[in-house]
């Protein structure tokens, strides 16, 4: 048994030490793998805010991931072809600058999250799960038939976007950017959970009626959580697109929504580092089991069923000896 905060420190240490070791031994692929894990963790940390703190089981978070990805794709595409982006009323230039892309990705995914959240929060339970799924599917099919940006084939970006003062083409530097963002978001997440807003949100999840009685609006609290959550996942999408230098409709697929939900439950719902641990374990399993056998999904599936049935509270709950941490 190990205390949760020591476990968290251990994970952070690993996320610093492994890529540095890989850089020293020039195993570039390990760094790419670590970058992938960190970005997927960021997407799941975003979902965890809605799911763990707000109790909103969104099965459509791929929507925001995809919007972030396509923001990067479209802006960088216009920059690399030197064409202007025609928005009807006015045109804008594309850009290859990461901070601008991130900002646009965050704004766009927040706006979409406001609309989806307002409509979806009219329902609850299974209906909420399914309506968020439906919105994800809408975007998925829309991008498939959106021929201007590659349609089903997706969109390739030839050179990774730049960040002032860094060379993002060096794997370890791009990893550094992603890692710092993940840490910043985790810090924000921890502060948010302890803030008056976080406490009210917790209350809204556990006893909506009492929360309403003391004069707080549970739906509004959940909407705010959903929007912040969508914005974080959107940012992760922009980073993921930059990692692969490729965007395609699969970023919107419902399987991806399921996958990030899986990271959270694997790690531990509502735990600060749950999604991070889940994503790291998933990427590691994917890589090593994938090398041993083509049918690694069978083993992954069996492991998952066992975790759901016997390790309530996920890996964090199992290791810290306090299972079933949520509710």
């Amino acid at each position: 048994m190990i205390q949760e905060r020591y476990l968290n420190a251990l994970v952070l240490f690993g996320l610093i030490a492994v890529p540095l070791y890989a850089m020293a031994t020039e195993e570039l692929f390990t760094i790419t793998l670590a970058t992938r894990a960190v970005i997927l963790a960021l997407a799941a940390v975003g979902l965890n805010l809605a799911l763990g703190l707000g109790g909103l089981v969104s099965f459509g978070h791929a929507t925001f991931f995809g919007i972030g990805g396509y923001t990067m794709g479209v802006l960088a595409y216009h920059a690399q072809t030197y064409t202007a982006l025609d928005l009807g009323l006015f045109t804008i230039e594309g850009t290859k600058s990461m901070p601008i892309i991130w900002l646009v990705a965050i704004i766009l995914s927040s706006l979409v999250a406001v609309v989806i959240g307002m409509l979806s929060l009219r329902t609850s339970g299974v209906y909420f799960i399914m309506i968020t799924l439906a919105f994800g599917q809408m975007f998925f099919f829309f991008t498939i038939s959106w021929a201007a940006y590659g349609g089903e084939d997706g969109l390739s970006i030839y050179v990774r976007n730049g960040f002032p003062g860094l060379n993002t083409l060096v794997p370890i530097q791009f990893y550094g950017i992603c890692f710092v963002i993940l840490c910043a978001v985790l810090f924000l997440n921890a502060r948010l959970a302890k803030s008056p807003f976080g406490l009210a949100l917790n209350a809204a999840r556990q006893t909506p009626m009492r929360t309403q009685t003391v004069g707080l609006d549970p739906t509004r609290l959940k909407l705010v959580a959903f929007v912040i959550s969508g914005a974080i996942t959107g940012l992760a999408g922009a980073l993921f697109a930059d990692l692969n230098r490729f965007v395609s409709p699969t970023m919107f697929s419902w399987q991806f929504s399921g996958e990030i939900m899986l990271f959270i439950i694997l790690g531990g719902v509502g735990r600060l580092f749950g999604p991070v641990i889940g994503a790291v374990i998933f990427v590691t399993l994917e890589h090593f089991l994938g090398e041993i056998t083509d049918f690694w999904h069978i083993y992954l599936g069996v492991i998952l069923v066992i975790i759901v049935l016997f390790a309530r509270g996920g890996i964090v709950g199992l290791l810290s000896g306090r299972g079933g941490g949520h509710d």
């Binding site: 799911l51 089981v57 099965f59 409509l119 009219r122 329902t123 609850s124 339970g125 299974v126 209906y127 799960i129 399914m130 309506i131 799924l133 439906a134 919105f135 599917q137 809408m138 099919f141 829309f142 498939i144 038939s145 959106w146 021929a147 419902w254 399987q255 399921g258 939900m261 899986l262 439950i265 719902v269 049918f295 690694w296 999904h297 069978i298 992954l300 599936g301 069996v302 998952l304 069923v305 759901v308 049935l309 309530r312």
Partner: protein, 306 residues
């Protein structure tokens, strides 16, 4: 745009709808009785199709293939219920979603392991192939017409089972108050296994029937699963009547939308842009339909009040 084309497309929509109904009926029963979200339902559809294709290839009999598909899917359903699903009834929806998502991985990769990655083919039997002439001189494939008939017959049978038999009374009672009927001496866990196997068998049958008009491959269950979820959410979860109405609505919207929306867009757009925009909106149309229904009636058309 002729009437013949419209009637053909309506029939295609109906055929799609009744096959969706077979999937959705099982899903909605399982949710209504056990309160379980079963993402792995699409796997039974796939199992049905694969077993049917394998048996048809070995024996050459389509009827035997259908029977084998039914039995295999029901058996797979019963086993999964007893080993995994049974432990999920008391947990929240999140755990159910994850565990059944994991089951999809196991089933899909398991099928790929046994049958390989290449699609199998299931042929329409000779006595059901070829077109028939409908009143009004419309030529329509006999097999698709058979599917509509088979789907409606199964729907009728399901209705009779639930409304007119003792098991049906128990199922309906289980939906309303599971403690009460357990107290009255009904073996509730056996009833649950039965309902789950019944749902799986319906999915397997649907997979086998549809398998003859499309290729049988790994992952074929998931798109249908998502559509079946859309169907039961539109109809109201737990309601068989809702599943039927929802399935026909989704089937018709999807089929007719794909034909008529591009035509509609041509009225105020240029040719190529209209085709693009029309097909984009058409592929989104059922999800738009679902959102509208949910925003208007948050528990679906025939759903119980929360």
């Amino acid at each position: 745009m002729s009437t013949v084309l419209i009637i053909e497309q309506v029939l295609n929509g109906l055929q799609f709808g009744v096959m969706l109904f077979l999937m959705a009926a099982g899903l909605t029963l399982i949710f209504g009785v056990m309160g379980l979200i079963n993402l792995a339902h699409g796997s039974f559809y796939m199992i049905g199709a694969f077993v049917a294709a394998a048996v048809a290839a070995a024996t050459g009999s389509f009827l035997l293939a259908l029977i084998a598909a039914l039995i295999a899917a029901a058996a797979a359903g019963a086993i999964v219920e007893m080993v995994v699903i049974r432990r999920l009834y008391a947990t929240d929806h999140l755990d159910q979603v994850l565990a059944t998502f994991a089951l999809i991985l196991v089933f899909s990769e398991g099928t790929r392991w046994i049958f390989g990655s290449f699609p199998l083919f299931l042929d329409i039997p000779g006595y059901l192939s070829g077109p028939v002439t409908l009143p009004g001189g419309i030529q329509y494939p006999l097999y698709r017409l058979t599917l509509i008939g088979a789907g409606l017959a199964v729907g009728l049978g399901l209705w009779a089972l639930i409304e007119r038999t003792r098991v049906g009374i128990q199922i309906r009672a289980g939906e309303n108050d599971r403690e009460m009927i357990a107290a009255l001496g009904v073996d509730i866990s056996k009833l649950y296994t039965l309902v789950f196997a019944l749902g799986a068998a319906l999915a397997g049958l649907s997979g086998a029937l549809v398998g003859a008009i499309q290729s049988v491959q790994v992952g074929m269950g998931e798109p249908v699963l998502i559509l079946a979820f859309v169907v039961i959410v539109i109809g109201g979860i737990g309601s068989i009547k809702g599943a039927f109405v929802g399935a026909l609505l989704v089937g018709l919207t999807d089929t007719l939308g794909g034909i008529f929306l591009p035509q509609l867009f041509k009225l105020f757009m240029e040719q190529s842009a209209a085709t693009n925009a029309g097909s984009a909106v058409a592929s989104m149309s059922i999800y738009i339909l679902m959102s509208i229904v949910l925003i208007w009636k948050p528990t679906g058309l025939f759903g119980a009040r929360p």
